[in-house]
């Protein structure tokens, strides 16, 4: 979050269309990344991002600054992603496809990435997609987005203690899924 975000949110909430567009330009990549990691499919993730911004636009006037702008946007996209998962037909599997991996661009790989096989990274994405949404969402926000416990708890509107418990189960479940996929 930055001071600029606060100003943009306040302006957008007051009807400043340029401020809202600036928020869209600034945060769409982040929202898409979260959506992709939760729903596991690029086309579905785009649906979620569109829905999230429409939802943000509709509720922007009610933004009173109780939450930080980034927290509020994470909450909007997380809710949109969860709604998408609930609505998705059961014939559509949760497993991500090859395009998920291709959407994860190999730009400036870290030494750690270079040392790890592509298959291991892909396996993580498949394993995350197999987790229950109640475990997948906090895991994505904390372990992949790098948010603090307090930030994730605020996004999910749960206590930090409850979040820690959910995250612990999610981590254990993720390692178990990774073992199964080996």
């Amino acid at each position: 979050m930055t001071g600029d975000d606060q100003e943009l949110m306040a302006a957008a909430a007051g009807g400043d269309v340029a401020a809202f567009d600036a928020l869209v330009r600034r945060h769409t990549t982040k929202l898409y990344r979260v959506a992709l990691r939760i729903v596991g499919d690029p086309a579905d993730a785009e649906d979620v991002v569109q829905e999230a911004w429409v939802s943000a636009w509709r509720s922007m006037a009610g933004f009173r600054g109780e939450a930080a702008p980034t927290t509020w946007l994470y909450r909007v996209v997380t809710n949109a992603a969860l709604a998408h998962l609930r609505r998705r037909r059961p014939t559509v599997p949760l497993e991500p496809e090859g395009k998920v991996e291709s959407a994860l661009a190999d730009r400036s790989p870290t030494p750690e990435q270079a040392a790890l096989s592509r298959e291991k990274v892909d396996a993580v994405l498949r394993a995350i997609a197999l987790l229950e949404p109640s475990q997948r969402v906090p895991l994505v926000l904390r372990e992949l987005e790098g948010m603090s416990y307090e930030e994730v708890a605020s996004v999910l509107e749960v206590s930090v203690a409850a979040l820690r418990s959910r995250l612990h189960r999610a981590r254990v479940a993720l390692l178990a899924k990774l073992e199964e996929l080996r």
Partner: protein, 193 residues
Amino acid sequence: MSGSALPCGHTVGELLDLVVDGGLEPSDTALAEHARTCEHCRAEIAALENRWGPVRAVAATPVELPDGLLSRVLGTVRGLREHAFSEPAEVEQEGGTLQVSRRALLLLARGHAADVLLDLPGVHLRGLSTVDKVIQVEIAVRYGVPAVEVADTIAQRLVEKLRESVGAAAPEVSVEVIDVLPPRPELRLPPFE
């Protein structure tokens, strides 16, 4: 796994949280202090670091925004804004006339379109706007989805739903396929009816 106890009495689950949160150094907890010198914990921590490595690698991998997504989002929001002061549609009903704003109609159409697409795997909404009072729906379809038939079906179902909601004030609907997505065999697309 979380309950698996090591010979020292600590569990793998406890150590997993320590590894993931990076809480081993600097040590400010009894567990971290113990783990740094316990051979059982140190061996397990090394194994967990190795197993958690791919998760960290995924976190460090950038995600590329699909071409055109940003402009489509901006277009969607601008489309809604443009109708803030448009002339409302009128619905004749018992006891008077109900006015429905163009923006409300657009949001209604968007919700109905999402419902219609639920029954059509491999079809994704890419844009929804109004041009000359006609709802313009843009979709992307998976390769293998019969694009023309599916576009006709969406138009027909969307008009039906809009008529159920606002009667004669329901606008016309036009559906255009703007993108074809690569095939995804595991989707098991149903035979088109």
